[in-house]
Symmetry: C2
Subunit: 546 residues, 2 copies
Amino acid sequence: MTEAAVPPLRWYGWGDRAVTPPAGLLRLLHEELGASAGVVSPPVARDQVVLPPSGLSDRLRRRLVAALGSAHVRRGDDERLRHAAGRSYLDLLMLRAGQLTEAPDAVLHPGTPEEVLRVLRVCSDDGCAVVPFGGGTSVVGGVAPLHGGRHALVTLALDRCAGNAGVDAVSQMATLTAGTSGPAAESMLWPLGFTLGHWPQSFEYATVGGFAATRSAGQASSGYGRFDDVVRGARLVAPAGELALRAAPPDATGPGLLQMVLGSEGTLGVITEVTVRVRKRPRTRHYAGWSFAGLEAGAAALRELAQHAALPDVTRLSDAEETRVSFAMAGEGTATRAAHAYLRARGQSAPCLGILGWEGSGADIGRRMREVAPLLRRHGAIALGGAPGRAWLRSRFEGPYLRDALLDRGLLVETLETAATWTELLTVREAVNAALRASLGARGTAPLIGCHVSHVYPEGASLYFTVLARRDSADPAGQWLDAKRAATDALLAAGGALSHHHGVGRDHAPWLGRFAGDLGVTALHGLRASLDPAGIMNPGKLTARH
Amino acid sequence: MTEAAVPPLRWYGWGDRAVTPPAGLLRLLHEELGASAGVVSPPVARDQVVLPPSGLSDRLRRRLVAALGSAHVRRGDDERLRHAAGRSYLDLLMLRAGQLTEAPDAVLHPGTPEEVLRVLRVCSDDGCAVVPFGGGTSVVGGVAPLHGGRHALVTLALDRCAGNAGVDAVSQMATLTAGTSGPAAESMLWPLGFTLGHWPQSFEYATVGGFAATRSAGQASSGYGRFDDVVRGARLVAPAGELALRAAPPDATGPGLLQMVLGSEGTLGVITEVTVRVRKRPRTRHYAGWSFAGLEAGAAALRELAQHAALPDVTRLSDAEETRVSFAMAGEGTATRAAHAYLRARGQSAPCLGILGWEGSGADIGRRMREVAPLLRRHGAIALGGAPGRAWLRSRFEGPYLRDALLDRGLLVETLETAATWTELLTVREAVNAALRASLGARGTAPLIGCHVSHVYPEGASLYFTVLARRDSADPAGQWLDAKRAATDALLAAGGALSHHHGVGRDHAPWLGRFAGDLGVTALHGLRASLDPAGIMNPGKLTARH
């Protein structure tokens, strides 16, 4: 694991790496959704993009330059465009169409917590909104430059606040500055013998500060923990001052201040640094495929693993639809046909693919695998060996690249996620599926919906949905907004969480009161008011009104 | 595990069970501290106790009776005395002397969350302070009836809010009402095949609501988790309304509202119900003693266990002084002498006793024990077999009973605790020891200080100190206040936490700003103001000013 030179995000999408959709996938999408095999809907040319003019007053600009130096107060269109949106489907539609209704008036690049504080004081004084910006990969509008009536808005990019502030090898904790990306963090820790073990799909671009601000969960959460599990200390620079929470074991000193900073999504201040538990880097790893006859059997097996503290480090289980798409992507080669025939012969006509991954020493992995195999077999699972595991591992960060290619082909492509107790998990999945089918079907664009269970806990698990449909070119945003609204209403009614790891941002804010209760929102407002009296931090996010 | 009929707390101390200090202990305390073998300092007779008069206005009393019924608004002296103090050393000194400067003006016994809300509305309107009261076992002044200038104060006892509100066996969660005691919770769960596994020393009297409000940690925290780890949902009734946080897996929906409720110590409202992860009740258990040549070697072993996810369910390690006292309590029988000789022969002249406990199935326990034995031996540990483990298990709740007996004998007896990273753990211990020795030594009452490491995490552990000294009869409270102040200053300066599991309450509140920062206290005030606008909840606790 070294810091690969990851090229920056494209202005209209994900990274600058050509990912061609597998022929088997294109065939399936053509047959079932009527998608084109070729590019029919490319983004506009960069020079066609229209941005609103920068509304920064001279007075404010001078004060910001005095605080940071002119090199770090940037108003060029490329800078403003690169910080004008996250990476949700709706963000991508807007960027690709080249018509931006909102953009930051300036992009600031502070280099230290002291500079962040200086900027927040200037902006508080001026009434200028501030949007903290890490990797810019939010899929819930978390970095949207919503002026919301304020005369100006600056985006505060944390790319200069990047680096390792120290490792305590004895206590196994590392202090990382907020702008450190996933690959940068691992490339600092790996040579010291450690890993953070945090691998969300956005790993290549997302930052440590963003992981903390949004309560991120990586693909190996069942082994390494959610990000909010591993954070042991943090620094938050708020308009009202600095909150420095020293790295320490759990304690009993009142309500959890650290847990108030985590998930604050830029609404309380700027997380400038986090201290995290790190782990000895694994010597080796083994990822294996196991096939279940149905989602119910697979979920029951995962539940038993979680409740017996026998979880692999990566634990995920696709439903039959997602499994079918995976097989289509693998292509109709001899191996795939043989696997299908084998599973059918064993009574699995619509198999559900589980990927279980173990990391550590060889002996330890062997012991842990042997321990769970009988349990899996008891739930009817069939071992598929290492090939599906290796295939998943190779493509684990490819989803967003592939999405750009499918957008080129005129499709709607979006994901959404939730979490629920084991008791309610499958009901929630059915409710979401039904809502999406009804909403998209009513427009004549019946969807293909894959779902997987991952991020497994003793009391429940998350559900992650991928939705594919023919895009309604007359009203593409409305098509998805309706479907998303229907899905969110349905999952809340069935007992699901508003979000398991994407966060609240702008897009989920209207539902927060329904999920957390009016008094929950009141408490968050109390917190915001105490740390950000002028109400400048990331307006329109999390609690919507501020 | 059935609900033993635990007699209520004595008005001046712990439970009504005669615990005679072992002869070996009395001999040691006589030789080293000059303690008497017999009772020289009994509590005053009950009829000598002086309480301040109840200052409840007729108007407020009528409104409270209208809200709850007259049977549940109690003003008798026995009721007021039983709710006038927690169970710290200073509380016990005050109770035993029979001179109370503060007491609740009335004790209310609501039976439902709706009744709690009704009372809080009446009290908000009236400006009457409210102290929530679970088991009354706080050792940091958490239930002290501090009027703080308010014309009246009522204590809200939760004994009628006790019972099981439901078990979800599939998702392995139980909903328990706040007033449910430790034994009552286990006696509900055990027949259903589950356990909460939460065994603090106060287990017999403390309540589920108190565990949540104070972030309690049980003796088996390394196996079953801290209480704030296992809580998955809660209901908080605040003056501003009700916050109902539905039981669910972890999510990403903003700052952790549940973690704001946990540790709130009655300052935000009344926790009326919690939903907790439960575990399959263990089929058997094995607790073993291991002896280390020193605290450093023992701590290194515990650190390695924690960092390799190989912790037993109970993990504790006494320093040489605490081990010496344990041996004295076991008496100078043949077995003890033989053990001493054996350890000395193996190079352990001042041994440190570790108690490691495993719970589960026999096969599982065997496997886990075999896994860690080589690691322990690598750190020089000598196996002492099951006898020390059984002895510890028998006496695990006896400390507070024994304390009453030692108070009778004219001693100062108190405990304090903290937590620190592994890097700083032993420095913190030395700093606390030195501060206590200096402060108590300056009065001519040199202490005997035992310490153990417990509640072990990958990044650090807690330290728990027991202090014994001859009481300064001229100024017993001042003697301890000075020592406690010195110890707290010292542990904070050395990097320790203000509290690992006792909480903040009244006694630690003056230090909270130094530990959590001014902005941390500001955030807590923001939270308090939003949920309790009239500022009636548990004044003088947690953040001191309100």
